[in-house]
């Protein structure tokens, strides 16, 4: 069972290759291969999960083979499986499977259908690699590969300039974070002498890593998590990433890849735990992100972007939880969020598939046309907003409780974000599915999606509804995913019942207000927009973060232009081709310069040499007595030397 877990990513890799090479001849143009592999993976993950809960396997499990050695150190390829891994594995395989099924409908008829599935399989493989690997080096590799897949999939419809741009933006922004990863990893290597996760954790647990080093490494590593998991200030790429097909958004930019940052922090939690400073950075960045992203979602009219901001906000929650010390809560939120956010994205995809627009202002009243989509979207919304007894309620309140335990301000920020979440989700729901159709043509054209698309929606909806409750039965999740020394997972403690009640009421209230405002009195939001136009502008400009990063890029460009002009105009022309300018001046001064010299002057170090040569050549006047004079000079000097010597 466990011994064969390493096959999972390899199989996905193989599937990717298979689809790319032979997809044409496979059923469903190759989608079948991807789906089959994903299904198998899911079954394995589920089996593992069950066994792990029942205690049928001993964790953690580790196996590795040598990969290559460098200067006395060894890099390995291997798997490291503990509860955390299994939880993540379940998320990845499940969402991947459902998204792939869904995509057969969504991507139907796309000219690059085959390639899409290849990318999806490649992504799944890399993501499984991130999840399973035993070595931070391989982790980094798969991490980057995930990024590339994201790049390829965001820019899947690359004929759209915006899609191409978004892909690049996503890649470079996350790459910025990756620099932190690289340096952090180097720090970690020199602190521990190894890339093996198990050894690093062991050393960290033993406290063998100095806190300062651990803190530095942890913060640097957090930079990369911030990039991939779209934390402040690097979250700017995620809204733009919605240029990709909706299933991609569901899989990569909602459920799995963006959660990888959280997963990484959780993976190296022992290192983070060594440094309170690092923990604080994580917590506060998470809180800030949760708040900012939620506020950004308030004014957004693009359905997918609303969901994207929502994702960012929820990721902020997870980080906040981890930073606050609530290890299990963070991971629990990751798990539930993966399902309902994937659901929301897929439902949104279904809507977009029907009306061919992302803009909520052109939708409305779609609940009649697309009942299944509507119901599932509604369930997802409820789960997200944290209305009991849906999944989000269990996880989010856990996070808020942890925040409260840690720091009341953290809790306040989190609660505000929760309120906003409820509000904007209500807004989105109402604008999309309720009210009158705003674009009649699009409305008429709309229709319910086919079964391959609604099927996964229903499944996910079911999971979203029950997962929170199920996973907390018998401390199931807590047993699986825990960290010694972290805050306990304590929903059932009465003291935190208050938090649960409070947050549920806030969410419900906020949601009701939102729904009422947008359904019954749509003029009020419009009025508010006008009244608070500076705030709205700030939100629409995304707190000017985009502008800030564009400025950075601009500075980079200027810098590069300057460096190149230095290289070309100064270093090459002036210093090396040296004196060319001087020579030219000199040549103008001296009328006797021949034409061919100018031809020759286009030359190396030599321009200076040439001018020296020209001077030397002056001596060769052709007048014999000038020559003789030189001889005479030499003779006289010789005579003088003889006398002097």
């Amino acid at each position: 069972m466990l011994e064969y877990v390493f096959i999972l990513p390899l199989l996905s890799f193989a599937a990717a290759g298979l689809i790319l090479a032979f997809g044409r001849w496979l059923p469903l143009k190759g989608a079948s291969a991807g789906i089959a592999v994903a299904a198998w993976g899911f079954s394995q993950a589920l089996l593992l999960f069950v066994k792990a809960i029942r205690g049928g396997i001993t964790l953690p499990y580790e196996v590795s083979i040598p990969w290559f050695s460098f200067g006395g150190s060894q890099a390995t390829l291997g798997v490291y499986v503990d509860g955390l891994t299994i939880a993540m594995l379940l998320v990845v395989t499940a969402v991947s499977l459902l998204v792939q099924i869904y995509s057969t409908g969504y991507m139907h008829g796309d000219p690059r259908f085959k390639r899409f599935y290849a990318y999806l399989s490649l992504f799944t493989a890399s993501m499984l690699g991130v999840t399973l690997t035993s070595s931070m080096m391989v982790f980094f590799m798969c991490w980057e590969l995930v990024g590339v897949c994201s790049y390829l999939l965001i820019g899947f419809w690359f004929e759209k300039q915006s899609a191409a741009y978004a892909g690049k933006k996503a890649f470079i922004t996350t790459k910025l974070g990756d620099l932190g990863f690289l340096i952090g990893l180097l720090c970690l290597f020199y602190a521990t002498g190894t890339f093996e996760i198990s050894k690093i954790l062991e050393l960290a647990h033993a406290g063998a890593i100095p806190a300062a080093v651990a803190g530095t490494a942890a913060i640097l590593l957090f930079l990369v998590a911030a990039g991939k998991s779209a934390q402040f200030p690097l979250f700017i790429w995620l809204p733009d990433a919605m240029e990709g097909p909706s299933p991609v958004s569901a899989l990569i930019h909602a459920a799995t890849m963006v959660a990888a940052g959280v997963y990484m922090v959780a993976r190296l939690y022992a290192v983070y735990a060594l440094s309170p400073a690092a923990m604080n950075v994580v917590a506060w960045t998470g809180a800030l992100t949760a708040f900012m992203a939620a506020s950004l979602a308030l004014t957004c009219f693009d359905l997918k972007r609303v969901l994207a901001f929502s994702t960012v906000s929820q990721l902020g929650y997870m980080m906040m939880a981890l930073g606050a010390g609530a290890f299990t809560a963070g991971m629990f939120h990751l798990t539930t969020h993966a399902y309902f956010k994937a659901l929301l994205f897929l439902a949104a995809g279904s809507v977009i598939h029907a009306v061919h627009t992302n803009d909520m202002r052109e939708m409305g009243g779609l609940r009649h046309k697309m009942p299944v989509t509507y119901i599932t979207f509604l369930l997802g919304t409820l789960a997200l907003t944290g209305i009991p007894p849906f999944a989000g309620f269990f996880s989010k309140d856990e996070v808020l409780a942890a925040a409260l335990a840690r720091n009341p301000y953290l809790f306040a920020v989190g609660a505000m974000a929760a309120a906003m979440t409820a509000f904007y989700m209500a807004r989105a729901l109402v604008m999309t599915f309720h009210g009158k159709p705003k674009d009649a043509q699009k409305y008429d054209h709309a229709h319910e999606s086919p079964a391959v698309m609604t099927g996964p929606l229903i499944l996910l909806a079911a999971v979203s509804v029950v997962s929170g409750w199920v996973l907390t039965r018998h401390e199931m999740f807590e047993k699986l995913v825990n960290f010694e020394g972290a805050l306990p997972f304590e929903l059932h403690h009465v003291s935190h019942g208050a938090v649960a009640v409070f947050s549920s009421i806030v969410a419900a209230l906020s949601m009701t207000v939102g729904a009422w405002l947008y359904k019954a009195r749509p003029e009020i939001p419009a009025l508010l927009r006008e009244k608070f136009s500076p705030v709205v502008e700030m939100l629409e400009k995304r707190y000017w973060l985009d502008a800030f990063f564009l400025k950075l890029v601009d500075i980079g460009d200027r810098l590069s232009a300057f460096m190149f002009s230095f290289d070309f105009n100064f270093l090459d022309q002036v210093v090396i081709d040296g004196w060319a300018w001087l020579t030219l001046k000199l040549s103008r001064l001296q009328g006797w310069l021949d034409d061919h010299v100018v031809d020759a002057a286009v030359d190396v170090t030599g321009a200076a040499t040439l001018s020296a040569g020209r001077v030397a050549r002056l001596a060769q006047t052709g007048l014999i007595q000038n020559y003789l004079l030189f001889v005479a000079i030499a003779v006289s000097i010789f005579a003088a030397i003889a006398f002097a010597g």
């Binding site: 980057e144 590339v148 290289d567």
Partner: protein, 486 residues
């Protein structure tokens, strides 16, 4: 005749044979060039097979007295440092020759010079006698001069002479350094192995001067800032096959020389120079990347990216540890593969569109999927994507250098980011976005081009996934090398 001599002499025979064929028999000339370069590749494959990866000693040594008056030997051999470079040279030459079948101008001369160039390059990597090394080193110059000057772009003549003078200046200084080493050994010898043992005992000042003389020669080849200005020009003007060799092999001669001789023979000076070298390495990385970003010309961009990548190599070398050295050598090899194929790919598009202006294209991925795929793979490899060849070397360079120079490494990472930025921007502009209908008539890659490029792409992936192919060759020697430097 030993295997190494056979490897070196095979292309020479080919070159002479070509000289004997009338210039009108183009197919025959191409055939001969291909056969002899392929034979050379096969022999180097044999070299890979017989090479013993467990020892750091020189292998397949052949030593024949050549000029006893100066105690000069024809002395060849390989160790982990050079064996992979020999194979790389043989491989890239074959591919470049295949690619160059599209050359129609003065075919005979082209392949003559090309094979002669191969002799020089192989010779540099197998020589263990410093004099012999120098002879081969210079031997690469002349063919290169003609290859750039006759078959190059619009400013070919300028580029050719600039390349020639620049490199010659460096190598002549190197010659003085070599002579200084020679006269400071007892008995006077050019034997590198012996020199390494003897020169390390020289006083610091002497070592510094010799190091400097050698360094200038090597640095120009690498090219290390500020001696790099010949490179963009030469690359841009050179024909595709030659650019490939230039980037893939010739640049490596510089770093190879430093690691082969300068470091082990002059350890005191090496340590003395380290603070400068790390600064140069960082400048190369950051500055090269930024310069590349400013380029509108695809080829120039790749050329400057070479400056950046050789900076990684230097970075690894400044680590003075086995990790860094491993990284540096691996980086040499992978850079050869990656940048070589990037130059091929640039050549492919230039052959079709007759422009390399990045802004002139757009959306090519839709119509040229194979081309776009290969280009994206190599670009990703070049910007250090894990799983592809570029990553491991680069990572090891950083890893090695981090221990000694954490802050410099921190600065150097900017280079990674900028590299990613300019490469992705290039991909966006050239391959993505709406298709530029101006290029509707162009065809995707043909068989000749695929044969030249696909092996490199395959190797890029294979080495990326399983770097032991290279590292196992390198590691023992590097461990030994670090041992004698420290």
């Amino acid at each position: 005749m030993s295997l190494l001599s056979l490897i070196v002499i095979t292309p020479l025979i080919g070159a002479l044979l070509i000289l004997a064929i009338p210039g009108t028999r183009i197919k025959l000339i191409q055939g001969v060039a291909l056969v002899f370069s392929a034979l050379c590749l096969v022999l180097s494959g044999q070299l890979y097979r017989v090479f013993d990866t467990t020892t750091a000693a020189m292998q397949l040594v052949q030593r024949v007295s050549w000029i006893p008056a100066f105690n000069i030997y024809y002395y060849v051999g390989v160790d982990g440092l050079s064996v992979a470079l020999v194979i790389l040279t043989a491989l890239l030459t074959v591919l470049a020759i295949i690619y160059s079948f599209n050359i129609t101008l003065r075919v005979k001369e082209f392949f003559f010079w090309f094979l002669l160039l191969e002799v020089g390059m192989l010779g540099v990597f197998v020589s263990l006698d410093f004099f012999l090394f120098y002879v081969f080193w210079e031997l690469t110059l002349v063919p290169m001069y003609f290859l750039i000057g006759v078959w190059g772009g619009p400013k070919k003549e300028y580029a050719a002479i600039k390349f020639f003078l620049y490199t010659l200046f460096g190598s002549l200084l190197m010659l003085l350094g070599i002579l200084a080493l020679y006269f400071n050994s007892t008995p006077h010898t050019f034997d590198m192995v012996e020199l390494i043992n003897q020169a390390r005992l020289l006083p610091l000042t002497m070592q510094i001067w010799i190091f400097l003389a050698l360094y200038v020669g090597f640095a120009i080849k690498i090219p290390a800032f500020p001696f790099h200005t010949w490179l963009p020009l030469a690359h841009v003007e050179a024909p595709t096959g030659v650019s490939v060799i230039l980037a893939g092999v010739l640049l490596k001669m510089g770093t190879y020389g430093i690691m082969r001789v300068s470091f082990p023979a002059l350890p005191l000076a090496t340590r003395w120079f380290m603070p400068f070298l790390i600064v140069i390495a960082v400048i190369n990385i950051v500055y090269g990347a930024f310069c590349a970003m400013a380029q509108k010309d695809l080829k120039k961009m790749v050329a400057y990216s070479s400056v950046n990548h050789m900076g990684y190599c230097l970075l690894g070398m400044t680590a003075m540890s086995a990790i860094g050295f491993n990284g540096a050598v691996l980086q040499m090899i992978t850079h050869g593969l990656i940048t070589g194929s990037l130059f091929f790919l640039v050549g492919v598009i230039y052959d079709r569109a007759h422009t390399r202006d990045i802004d002139a294209f757009g959306g090519l991925a839709a119509r040229f999927p194979i081309y776009a795929g290969l280009m994206i793979i190599q670009v990703m490899a070049s910007l250090g994507l894990p799983g592809l060849a570029g990553f491991v070397g680069e990572f090891l360079c950083f890893l090695g250098a981090f221990n000694s120079w954490p802050y410099y490494v921190g600065i150097a990472t900017i280079g990674i980011l900028v590299t990613a930025a300019f490469f992705l921007r290039m991909i966006e502009k050239v391959f993505l976005g709406p298709f530029n209908e101006k290029w509707a008539g162009l065809k995707d890659m043909d068989l000749r081009e695929l044969i030249a490029i696909v092996p490199l792409a395959v190797l890029t992936i294979v080495i990326g996934i399983w770097p032991r192919f290279c590292l196992d060759l390198i590691d023992p020697t590097i461990t030994y090398l670090v041992g004698i430097i420290k």
